[in-house]
């Protein structure tokens, strides 16, 4: 099919490159277009008006606009994993090889089975679904809802992974100018010439805004040429960044704007190494909103047929794209701008058969049949407009055959971006439209220029663009040079509001969601008159266009019904984004394995060489176990690591524990206040277990802290709380006790730290370190600075496993060498590396608490550590830990649990119930917090929190896991399963 509706280039060349042809397919049919086309302009050039189906009634639809406000012409662009549902054909830039499909129809766009809904429209009124489908109750999920869900939705998302990449970026500027129409360009020229850092962003692929769609003359040049020259000058300024194909989608606090740059959407696929889109965060000192205005329709019976368009869109297709949507067209208007459409179209050789002008007193337009005081009452044409019915001023009706109808109800300034900041728009009677609140509507002052501010002429746009730039520059201390604005048209807005043609049965307001005047009447009848009720009940303005062409119209109809003015009726709040944004762009590079950063331990490389299994612990990857070739089950590896450690020696990378150096003459006092127990009395060269509470008295964290020198301590925290503890200590230091002489620095990543545990721990380490570490020289809980082959190091004699154990720390960059050295030295002892699983087994065997017990709702008393909370000094959490609900003797206590029959398996998370009692919450006495298989004992063991647990040792209970249907007899025992007297660790 050839481009039957392309206007002769001599009459309207448009801004498409007719010397080149682009091939594309829509619904499997091949078409041709030109560079500069959108999918919509190219389809219209090929005589295709039908591009989609509406949401509810599945009415045939074509585009009503030539821009991003489009509610109807939504297609699935591309195919396969790159398929993009709901793409507006009116802004999809044509490229060679483009494919698109129509959506929300079956089996085809021309014949859609669900258009039966249109026949049944009298049942499907606004909110009908709230009133039915209630009986029988079970039918909702099984019958009604599946049918509704299948019918609803628009396009289809392919379930494959998006193959394209997306970037995020940050930009800073003095002045951000949003929109590159006449106002934006004028503002950019003024701001750019002053030397200010300027960003000019426009959603279109061609800057110039309406200048590209009009026949205006600016000075001596056509509007489009003036825009081209302005863009060329701006491009030559190093302080100006031009961002075409970039939609500013959201206004955020303090001058921050979000913007999407469609880097590759105009290509078949992104160039290698290029993202599909980039999401920019733009930090601006001042912003100038020059986003223009959107034309609005008038509602009348059957005003939604393909071929019925906004009048300004009809002329944009003719002027910019050289496309006549129809050979015979009519215009329906309530304002002078509609007449301009008629004039432009006629000049392009289009047969304008009539102007239906609702104003009886409009100035008569010569040369075209101008029917004043007339309205369109109905239309015909099943899949595209074929005729309109006109009611003349005298009441006579006439049908006129046309292919296209341009409708103009006036222009609405784009208030969305200020609305994002909840600045209420202001109604302006003279243009019968809302304008942005303007001035300081946001927190970084925002200026509004051009049509966006209600100055709808080209002259007004240039003047206000220049003026707002001047004000912004003045704010920022830049000198604005005098500007040389070209002469331009300055037509006044001449408009008599007409919102809908009365008497119509179904006159569409929100075309995508099929909201009609009738629906608004029903909402009024049922008292859904508040603007938000209207919106939510009828779904007005909730489609993918957020009601850009429909909201004001809907308000106007409701205002008529209630007898209020439009501003009294209210405004709906536009929300970000301005136009829908691909989730890929907002997700950026944070996908797959790159979702969050990896933190690797110093022994990671070595462990990987050994074939270790790693596990995610926050952002850390820790060695979970290190399997040997003969081991097929993870338990075999873990059991071996545990037994080998308890028999001889094991090594574990504990670098992930938080490490904080605390120095100053008040370091001891400071620690006394942040720990529940006392540290100022700790001897130099010793370490102590510390229990840290939150101010609410719950246990926050635990770890050992060593006194390395009189005024120098080294604190360790749990892996999970390393960051939070450091933040808390800084809070205490800076906010609570600002004059204490104490300094903090996190050294978690400065030291590689290894636990060396087991009866041969000392023998192994003595081979590595330079100092004597005999029990006499380095007793239990000793700490000190040592050297390893001359390298500075730290040694702590502490134990989490219950064995004779040390933790040795070397500067992180020596961590890899250290693990290799330790393993080499340990060879004679059959040293093993043990991972987090074996670590967990040994700490449960020993009865030490860890993450599952440090759950943020446990007190020291719950953990059996109540005596550690000193009342002789003030410390964080000391007072509130004494509240009655937290200091009950019969409250939860940490206990040990073992199966009565050693062969029985247990599950962590099982609840403890009294023997013989029903499985109800009344009999729920506690739960298993941590569970391991003890290779040492040969059965499962668990830690548990149990009500009144301190007094229930020896009791037989049931560990019940209702999720798996298990119910196991267990005995409550001490949590210290091995070596309760601690003989091993002192060995």
């Amino acid at each position: 099919m050839s481009q039957t509706h392309r206007i002769d280039a001599k009459l309207s060349a448009g801004q498409v490159d007719r010397s080149r042809t682009l091939r594309f397919h829509f619904d499997g049919v091949a078409y041709a277009g030109h560079p500069g086309d959108t999918l919509a302009s190219a389809l219209l050039a090929n005589g295709v008006r039908l591009m989609g189906r509406s949401f509810k009634y599945h009415r045939p639809r074509g585009p009503i606009s030539a821009g991003s406000e489009e509610p109807n012409a939504l297609v699935e662009l591309r195919s396969g994993a790159r398929q993009e549902p709901n793409t507006r054909a009116t802004v999809a830039e044509l490229f060679d090889g483009l494919t698109a499909q129509s959506q929300n129809r079956w089996p085809s766009l021309r014949f859609d089975a669900l258009s039966i809904n249109d026949r049944l429209n009298s049942f499907f009124t606004a909110g009908f679904y709230y009133k039915t489908f209630m009986w029988p109750a079970s039918f909702w999920e099984k019958v009604y809802e599946p049918i509704i869900r299948r019918a609803a939705g628009l396009g289809t998302l392919n379930r494959q992974e998006d193959p394209d990449s997306y970037d995020k970026g940050f930009l800073h500027c003095d002045v951000l100018i949003i929109g590159a129409g006449p106002a934006g360009l004028a503002a950019a020229l003024t701001a750019g010439r002053s030397g200010a850092r300027v960003i000019l962003a426009d959603e279109d692929f061609r800057m110039g805004g309406r200048l590209n769609a009009e026949t205006f003359v600016l000075g001596e040049a056509s509007g489009a040429d003036w825009a081209k020259a302005a863009v060329a000058e701006l491009a030559s300024l190093p302080n100006v960044r031009l961002m075409a194909r970039t939609t500013v989608v959201g206004t955020f606090d303090h001058g921050i704007y979000g913007a999407v740059e469609r880097v590759s959407d105009h290509l078949l696929e992104p160039l290698p190494g290029k993202p599909r889109q980039t999401f920019w965060r733009i930090y601006s000192k001042r912003a100038i909103l020059a986003g223009g205005a959107t034309e609005r329709p008038i509602a009348f019976e059957n005003n939604d047929r393909p071929g019925i368009m906004l009048a300004g869109a009809l002329r944009a297709y003719a002027n910019r794209w050289g496309v006549a949507v129809g050979r015979r067209v009519a215009i329906f208007t309530n304002n002078d701008d509609g007449l301009r459409s008629a004039v432009d179209l006629a000049a392009k050789g289009v047969d304008v058969v009539a102007i239906i002008d609702s104003r009886a007193d409009a100035t008569l337009l010569p040369g075209i049949r101008h029917l004043r005081g007339a309205v369109v009452t109905d239309t015909a044409g099943r899949l595209g407009l074929s005729q309109v019915t006109v009611r003349h001023a005298d009441g006579r009706s006439e049908t006129i055959g046309v292919e296209a109808l341009g409708v103009s109800g006036g222009w609405n300034p784009v208030v969305n971006l200020t609305s994002h900041h909840r600045a209420k728009p202001v109604w302006r009677e003279d243009i019968a439209a809302f304008v942005p609140a303007g001035g300081e509507s946001g927190l970084a002052p925002t200026y509004v220029a051009g049509a966006a501010g209600g100055d709808l002429s080209t002259h007004g746009a240039l003047v206000t663009g220049n003026e707002m730039a001047r004000r912004a520059l003045e704010d920022l201390g830049f000198a604005a040079r005098p500007s040389d604005l070209p002469r331009a048209e300055d037509a006044p807005v001449v408009l008599q509001p007409l919102w809908h043609v009365k008497g119509a049965k179904r006159a569409w307001i929100d075309q995508q969601n099929d909201v009609t005047v009738k629906d608004i009447k029903l909402a009024h009848q049922e008292n859904f008159t508040a603007v938000e009720h209207l919106k939510r009940y009828t779904t007005l303005g909730m489609a993918t266009d957020q009601g850009k062409t429909s909201n004001v119209l809907g308000l106007a109809v409701m205002a008529e019904l209630t007898g209020k003015t439009i501003p009294q009726t209210g405004t709906t709040i536009y929300r970000p984004p301005y136009t829908p944004v691909a989730l890929g762009a907002l997700g950026g590079r944070a996908r797959g394995r790159d979702f969050k950063p990896f933190r690797l331990t110093p022994s990671h490389k070595w462990a990987a060489e050994q074939g270790a299994t790693f596990v995610e612990v926050g952002y850390w990857m820790r060695t979970q176990w290190v399997p040997r070739a003969s081991e097929t089950e993870w338990r075999q590896s873990v059991d071996r690591e545990v037994l080998a450690t308890r028999r001889s020696v094991g090594i574990c990378d504990v670098t992930t524990l938080g490490k904080i150096d605390i120095q100053g003459t008040d370091a001891g006092v400071f620690l006394d206040r942040v720990y529940a127990n006392t540290f100022s009395t700790l001897a130099v060269g010793k370490c102590r277990y510390g229990l840290m509470l939150r101010e609410d008295g719950m246990v926050f964290d635990d770890g050992t802290t060593a006194r390395m020198a009189p005024n120098e301590y080294v604190m360790t925290t749990t892996t999970a709380n390393a960051v939070a503890v450091f933040r808390h200590l800084e809070f205490c230091r800076q906010c609570l006790w600002p004059d204490l002489d104490v300094q903090l620095i996190s050294t978690t990543e400065a030291w590689a730290q290894f636990s060396v545990a087991g009866p041969n721990a000392r023998n192994l380490l003595q081979k590595v370190v330079d100092q004597d570490i005999s029990d006499a020289a380095f007793p239990y809980m000793a700490a000190g600075s040592i050297t390893v082959g001359g390298l500075r190091a730290r040694l702590f004699r502490i134990s989490f496993s219950g064995e004779l154990a040390y933790e040795i720390a070397v500067p992180t960059r020596y961590g890899d060498a250290m693990i290799r050295k330790l393993m080499e030295a340990g060879a004679e002892f059959d040293a093993v590396v043990y991972g987090t699983e074996a670590l967990g087994v040994m700490r449960v065997e020993k009865g030490h608490v860890a993450g599952n017990e440090l759950n943020g709702t446990s007190t020291a008393l719950n953990m059996g550590l109540g005596k550690m909370v000193s009342r002789k000094k003030d410390s964080i959490g000391m007072v509130l830990s004494q509240r009655e609900g937290m200091s009950r003797d019969d409250g939860l206590r940490l206990v040990g649990v073992k199966p009565v029959d050693p062969a029985d398996a247990l599950k962590a998370g099982s609840h403890l119930l009294k023997t013989g009692a029903a499985a109800t919450v009344q009999n729920d006495d506690g739960w298993l917090t941590s569970l391991v298989w003890s290779p040492h004992l040969g059965h499962y063991i668990a830690l548990a929190y149990l009500k009144n647990g301190a007094n229930r040792l020896g009791e037989t209970m049931r560990a019940v896991n209702l999720l798996a249907g298990t119910d196991v007899a267990v005995e409550i025992v001490s949590p210290h399963f091995i070596d309760p007297e601690g003989e091993r660790l002192r060995g």
């Binding site: 549902p85 989730l583 609840h911």
Partner: protein, 416 residues
């Protein structure tokens, strides 16, 4: 007027002339027995149950804006009773049971849809916690299942199982969880309350409280003084502002929570899903939009709008979980004011002022609680004693050390 399919048929054939207003717009009377401050979900439900279940009369609901304009109209519509702690789970299970019969009860199709909710599990510790929680749910009479990785994959094969930073190891599922059409909840309760004689008074802001000798006499409003024997406040994010009229400081901060919806898509996600390793949860509405959310922005705010860091954080979570989402588009982001309490759990209690009652501190979980919150608050107002499932929701739990802290974060509201 009773709604039914038959009624729609009849109206369709007679030009829809018979539909009557869903509620009246009465002028406020000089005084009432009960004044409920706040015409959101909880306030409307309270009035409805006061009238219907507790047979009380002379009730008014005062709403500063429009009915259902608070969080009931701007949430992600999820219902569930998958709580852990004894203070919470019976209450939320009561709520879920009320949801299950709600539409027939108030004769309004709120589209209560029990399509199941899953909480994904990514670590062994999370599985242990899910086991404990699932057992607590069942012990309280709720339903719970622990799914393994393959069961999750069978349900949602398009999740990222192969290339994930935090692998999916299973899920805790509650099949009775699901979604509800949020606005319809407010409207159903409003209509039901109105038809039982409750005066729903919109555009009526409470500007003060008249308290004498420790007893409330009524409220000052933008439409004049309204006397009341009992005043119940259920104003969510505005709790601190309203209770300040009674000289009370609350254990509550107001924070902004953003929520999101995509463009309409053909059916993709059947139930509700939460991604524990990221800040992301999602369901798909009957209209086809993916409804999703994540963390609160984290700073005190009454602005009903948020900022980019959280928007990006949430969607990064979505992309990590479902890499296919790249080509779906975000349609709208909006913000609501959350009454974040100091332990993440609500308060339904008397106050030191006789006749003044408070319901708030719902954090971002208030929607699912709507029916039980209304019922329990009505119970407290009518009988002056707490409903059995809401006995723990007292002000003095903080003084007594009886916090109900599901997340174990302590008195830092933005972490709940």
């Amino acid at each position: 007027m009773r709604y039914s399919g038959f009624r729609i048929l009849k109206e369709a054939l007679t030009g829809h002339k018979g539909w009557t207003p869903a509620w009246r717009d009465p002028e406020p009377q000089a005084s009432y027995d009960y004044v409920i401050v706040g015409g959101g979900g909880h306030g409307l439900a309270t009035a409805y149950y006061l009238a219907k279940e507790f047979r009380q009369a002379r009730i008014a609901v005062l709403e500063k804006g429009y009915l259902g304009g608070g969080n009931v109209g701007r949430n992600t519509t999820i219902i569930r009773s998958n709580y852990l702690l004894d203070g919470n789970e019976p209450f939320y299970e009561f709520s879920l049971k009320l949801w299950e019969g709600l539409e027939q009860d108030f004769n309004y199709n709120a589209m209560v849809s029990q399509r199941g909710i899953i909480n994904l599990i990514h670590t062994d510790a999370a599985r242990d916690a899910a086991t404990r929680r699932g057992n607590a749910m069942i012990l309280n009479g709720a339903d719970a299942e622990l799914l393994n990785r393959d069961q999750v994959k069978a349900m949602y094969p398009f999740l990222n199982f192969d290339d994930a930073r935090f692998p999916i190891k299973g899920a805790l599922m509650q099949r009775r969880g699901g979604t509800v059409r949020h606005d319809a909840v407010a409207w159903g309760y409003a209509r039901g309350a109105d038809s039982r004689g409750v005066d729903l008074i919109q555009n009526c802001e409470v500007t003060g409280m008249r308290i004498e000798n420790g007893r409330i006499l009524g409220v000052e409003t933008s439409r004049g003084f309204i006397g009341a024997k009992k005043v119940g406040v259920a104003v969510a994010g505005s709790s601190s502002r309203v209770m300040a009229h009674a000289g009370m400081r609350l254990p509550i901060e107001s924070h902004v929570l953003q929520a999101f919806v995509s463009e309409g898509l053909k059916p993709l996600i059947d139930g509700v899903m939460t991604f524990g390793a990221g800040h992301f949860y999602v369901s798909q509405s009957d209209k086809g939009g993916l409804v999703f959310g994540g963390d609160i922005d984290g700073y005190n705010s009454y602005a009903q709008r948020g900022n980019l860091p959280v928007i990006e954080d949430v969607i990064e979570g979505g992309m990590a979980l479902m890499p296919m989402l790249g080509r779906a588009r975000l349609l709208r982001a909006w913000g609501g004011i959350m009454d974040m309490s100091m332990d993440g759990s609500p308060i339904i209690d008397r106050t030191p002022v006789e006749g003044l009652y408070f319901n708030g501190g719902w954090c971002y979980g208030g929607f699912k609680a709507t029916p039980a919150s209304g019922w329990c608050f009505a119970h407290l107002l009518a009988r002056d004693e707490p409903h059995p499932t809401a006995t723990a929701y007292r002000f003095d739990r903080f003084l007594k050390g009886l916090m109900i802290d599901e997340k174990g974060q302590g008195a830092t509201p933005n972490l709940h």
